[in-house]
Symmetry: C2
Subunit: 418 residues, 2 copies
Amino acid sequence: MFWSKAFIPTLKEAPQDAEAASHKLLLRAGMIRMLTSGVYIYLPLGLMVLNRIETIIREEMDASGAQELLLSCIQPLELWKKTGRDQQLAETMIRFQDRRGRNLCLGPTHEEVITELVKNHVSSYRQLPVVLYQIQTKFRDEIRPRFGIIRACEFVMKDAYSFDRDQKGLEKNYEVMFTAYKKIFTRCGIKFLITEADSGIMGGSVSHEFMVPAQSGEDIVLFCKKCDFVKTLTEDKEQKCPRCNTPLEKKQTIEVGHIFQLGTKYSKALGACFLDEKGEQQTIIMGCYGIGVSRLISAIIEQNHDEDGIIWPEDISPFDVLILPVQSSNEEVVGLAKKYYSELEKKGFRVLLDDREGTAGVKFKDADLIGIPLRVTIGEKNLQKGEVEIGLRREKKIITVDKNSVVSKIAGLIKKGS
Amino acid sequence: MFWSKAFIPTLKEAPQDAEAASHKLLLRAGMIRMLTSGVYIYLPLGLMVLNRIETIIREEMDASGAQELLLSCIQPLELWKKTGRDQQLAETMIRFQDRRGRNLCLGPTHEEVITELVKNHVSSYRQLPVVLYQIQTKFRDEIRPRFGIIRACEFVMKDAYSFDRDQKGLEKNYEVMFTAYKKIFTRCGIKFLITEADSGIMGGSVSHEFMVPAQSGEDIVLFCKKCDFVKTLTEDKEQKCPRCNTPLEKKQTIEVGHIFQLGTKYSKALGACFLDEKGEQQTIIMGCYGIGVSRLISAIIEQNHDEDGIIWPEDISPFDVLILPVQSSNEEVVGLAKKYYSELEKKGFRVLLDDREGTAGVKFKDADLIGIPLRVTIGEKNLQKGEVEIGLRREKKIITVDKNSVVSKIAGLIKKGS
């Protein structure tokens, strides 16, 4: 992509009401824009990042045997009355009546809908287990939207649901998801903690949260300095490590994943049953598995940035390489930039060419801001020696290479699979 | 994918209230399910089809120079008041107040939002033209949802918007989109008419509709039997061909695309301006370009089915090949089926293996119903002669091939690019 034709509205300053580092950087790097409090637009760069995260999630979900479908945003309120969660979710759920008088809501989550679907199509133990997932927009009437896309009213989630004959089957699927989640978050380039958590309004017993330590986290986890014990804070009183008996310390985190062994809470309320091998009716055992997809973008930035801007992990970055011709009026400089561009694109790399007129200072600042892992800097001075610079965003390292070996050098630097 | 593990709930009969052929087949083939009137769930097979259509649209949009972003579903009502369309859309627009008292709506379309976005980031002629698009869920409070996903309350649209300095620029972008649309619908395997249309509540002057002739169409076009003149019906009175002066005939169609030269309707109302080369303030000239993405699935089926089921065009089909072992208890039959499966998957084809227990009759019926272009039928009898059958769904043709040349034969039958 040529920057001069791209819609990447970078900003020198972040709006004053942006508190979190990730929020400021997402705005400044031209990745997102706020339409109204808690509601965000994903600009082209931001959408590229969102798509890369979604691709990682899809690959790991599909590999785990889950099947993707797409439920609806609009849901009939009556389903929520059957589980009593219309009361539990209270004002968090966006409700409306259509002109035919139907009571509808916008899905804050989809347990009721998926259980109703499976109930209508699964009747025998032979059809179990089944694991279904979707990547879908969710809606919550947040009283206090915060930190940009960390706590928003409209956001993207991956939610998966497992349906099993018995507790053993559930535990097996839970383990498979647990492993898939670790792979997903590792591929996203973040450090995370896994905590035993409270099931809250989802119901069920066993539950784990995947928490990303970050300055702008809203969730507090308790951890032990002496061992690897960690748990989510539920009561705000001093607590001791059950292993070491030392007081637990607090850490702010962002919740990016939450998995639950639901049991029969939803299947019982909605009547999702099956006939077992003996012809006896049994209730389906469920699990549910969520990932905050859009929020992951923020979590990644919270852990991957410096004072100059974002530092995208290779597998998440909107582009693999940024080409920066320093003198936009020098024909040799620009010609070489375009040559590298087409050669790298031909090799299948995602390349952004900063062909804008403007000072080198602005281009370097924007390059650091948007955080592409590799930068090829083509300047008159180096070119007189037949050299070009390759900059590594994360390491803040500059490698000087022969102008004829730039493409092969870049190809070597970009790890396989990214 | 192995059918025994897939969530493909086929039905022998369609629910009685399904009128359109496409609606009946989408339900029977386990592609979609109704959650509540006008609101649909895309099951795994249906989502695969939706994704293939979206991929075609993205490829052609990106090739045309448009950039993808993602606007929000939730929109502030105040933007709509500025253009007066909150009144025009009246009850069709789903509105709600959040708990902080904000008046919000669910986007039935996005002209207001995108104009507001571009207004805040484009200030000079140097930044124009820009063309942005999204593939996004839209919401309309339809009083009479009909024909399944042809007229639904929640549906997927591709909407693109062009921003230009002058009418000449708009006309150029309009032409580019016009060409891209013809490519998209041709790749989707449908026959379509292009009609000069009325701009309606979108405003502007020039407008064209892309209409798919179908029994379950809701839009009437008038066409001349003698020449290629065609227009959308606006007034219900007898009309004559402006070229041949013969009475025009009526045809039912489904609208799958609509493009508009909007002019300054939205940019004027929302104040989207730029400074021209002389430093004078000018109003941005806009165009907008919509495709009914989910509705396209129905349009494709309306034109591609027979009494037995769907006949997917190659580029749209959820799978390239269906492998059908007739005797699921014969080891040689099943072994060969699995061998073909892995060899074809390795070649990059999408393969569905019907490994279900059950009668051959059910499998053949389901195969015709879900409409995969190629079927490999492995039966004991043929196998004794060392032969396997390849069935072509569209041509209703059976080719008998040597069991060792099945994979190469299939590879030859599947056109490049599908």
